[in-house]
């Protein structure tokens, strides 16, 4: 069952003469991890960033087609490309969270970082905030390391801890989908291992889409893999099939490391 269904989706950057994504059809399945792989410039990040319309931060970009997002409470689908009102954008982004390549802790305390989204949601009650922050930090396997210094600046954490803080911050608002844009490419192998473990655990609660340059990572953690090339979706299937038995020659060449 898809939680996000991308249908015939094209995307054109503001100043670009032609689309960066051409008619993509791709489901992001509920409770699963979907990896987007492909060489630099293939459009995998562009696609991921369309799923919560973060592109709208910059004017002039053009979306075509449909991106249907399922409301898990009602089971109904909504085309997020139709969203125009500020309130609906806030709802979309709290439903579809995002983790970036470089850790992005805000210049404030660890507590305030995790509480940021909750406060936007309108939660003011201190006890409730504390409970949700603790829950989120535990969910991101960071609680034990930071419980004694919640009021210290988040900038003092290590890179791996900062990334887990960002995951806690995103998890705190209980999203349906989390988008990871190369979340470990700025981290050392040990922190990378911790984040990967965390992502696998998180799929019990949220559906996940992850862009990665690291094919081992894709094969280790994902259930489904989409291979993209030059703005096209070349192949989408279960990860095992993509890696062991790809149908397309280009997929095989990329996975064997013949180009990239």
């Amino acid at each position: 069952m898809p939680v996000i269904d991308i249908k015939n989706f094209s995307f054109t950057y503001a100043s670009a003469p032609k689309p960066s994504l051409n008619g993509i059809n791709l489901p992001i399945k509920e409770g699963k991890i979907t990896a987007l792989i492909g060489p630099s410039g293939c459009g995998k990040s562009t696609l991921l960033r369309s799923l919560n319309r973060i592109h709208d931060l910059y004017p002039g970009n053009k979306y075509e087609g449909e991106i249907l997002l399922k409301d898990l409470k009602t089971g109904k689908f909504e085309n997020i490309l139709d969203i125009k009102k500020e309130n609906d954008f806030i709802r979309l982004r709290q439903t579809v969270g995002m983790i970036f390549q470089k850790p992005t802790p805000f210049p404030m305390s660890i507590f305030d970082n995790v509480a940021y989204g909750l406060r936007i949601e309108g939660i003011k009650n201190k006890t409730e905030l504390e409970g949700r922050v603790e829950e989120a930090l535990k969910g991101a396997a960071l609680w034990e390391e930071v419980k004694d210094r919640l009021n210290k600046s988040a900038m003092g954490l290590s890179g791996g801890q900062q990334q887990r803080l960002c995951i806690a911050r995103a998890v705190a608002v209980k999203p349906e989908v989390l988008l990871f844009d190369e979340p470990t490419s700025a981290l050392d192998p040990i922190s990378t291992g911790a984040i990967e473990e965390l992502i696998v655990e998180l799929k019990n609660e949220v559906s996940i889409a992850i862009v990665t340059h690291n094919m081992q990572q894709a094969s280790r953690i994902s259930d489904y893999t989409a291979f993209m090339y030059l703005g096209d979706l070349v192949e989408f299937d279960e990860t095992e099939t993509i890696f062991l038995n790809p149908k397309e020659k280009r997929t095989e060449d990329y996975i064997m490391g013949r180009f990239g």
Partner: protein, 268 residues
């Protein structure tokens, strides 16, 4: 041959550096010798009418402070607009260019402008007119600093805020300004140091006064304008006072500048 050219260039560079620094040292030493010999504690207790500098120092700070109250918010908001909202729009770009030009506008021209639009219509020099002239000096510096410092904040931080559902103004004021805080504060301090030592914008806007006053509708005591007057005075006593005043002003500007640098250094 290349070695020779290398040596000549190196030699010229060293010579120029020494020449520049030499003049700076000369200025500071002269100021120190002439200033310190005329310096005494009474300068800080008496007003100019009684041979002191108290009213002038206070007056200069009051005008610079009022200029900051006007100039900092205007400059910061304009800087936020051109970096966070204007993107590469022509309008934002033209404000940025205009601000750059304003920054290098001769300060006497700004003084003349304020004279024409404030002093003449209001019927005379005033502390308020002086403050406005200083504020006009300050705005482009604050715009430039805010713009530059905001540009150093990684765009991922903005996206991370938006991705949590925050609206744009909230991201700017909760996160981005905080991330750029140290740089912006330093810039503001340097802008303050710049205007506190200005003479030309005050020369015919606030003029100066021998008496202590906080009435901004009248001619207002200014340390720099009085230095100009005193230095042109026939009496040697006045000229000594001008040296003492120059020394005090230099020390004040130096302290503000060093504080700015200190804040920046502590960040790294």
């Amino acid at each position: 041959m290349r070695l020779l050219i290398n040596k000549i260039v190196l030699g010229l560079s060293i010579f120029s550096a020494v020449l520049g620094l030499g003049f700076l040292a000369w200025i500071l030493i002269t100021l120190f010798i002439k200033g310190v010999s005329s310096l005494h504690f009474g300068l800080f207790l008496n007003d100019l009418i009684d041979g002191g500098l108290r009213n002038l120092i206070i007056g200069q700070f009051v005008m610079a402070a009022i200029a900051s109250v006007i100039g900092i918010p205007v400059g910061m908001l304009a800087g936020i607009y051109i970096r966070e909202y204007g993107y590469d729009s022509k309008f934002a770009d033209s404000i940025r260019n205009l601000s750059d030009i304003m920054m290098s506008a001769p300060s006497i021209v700004i003084g003349a402008f304020v004279y024409a639009v404030v002093v003449v219509p209001s019927g005379g020099a005033s502390g308020f007119a002086g403050s406005i002239a200083l504020a006009i000096m300050m705005v482009p510096i604050v715009i430039n600093t805010t713009d530059n410092m905001l540009s150093l904040v990684p765009k991922e931080l903005r996206e991370a805020g938006i991705a949590l559902g925050a609206s744009k103004y909230k991201v700017i004021f909760d996160i981005i300004i905080k991330a750029a805080k140290v740089g912006i504060m330093t810039g503001i301090l340097l802008a303050f140091a710049r205007i506190i030592g200005e003479t030309a914008p005050l020369l015919f806007t606030s003029e100066t006064s021998n008496y202590f006053t906080l009435d901004l509708t009248q001619a207002f005591p200014s340390l720099t304008v009085s230095i100009y007057d005193l230095a042109n005075d026939v009496e040697e006593k006045s000229r000594d006072l001008a040296w003492a005043a120059s020394f005090i002003l230099t020390v004040l500007v130096l302290i503000i500048n060093l504080t700015g640098r200190f804040i920046t250094r502590n960040k790294h």
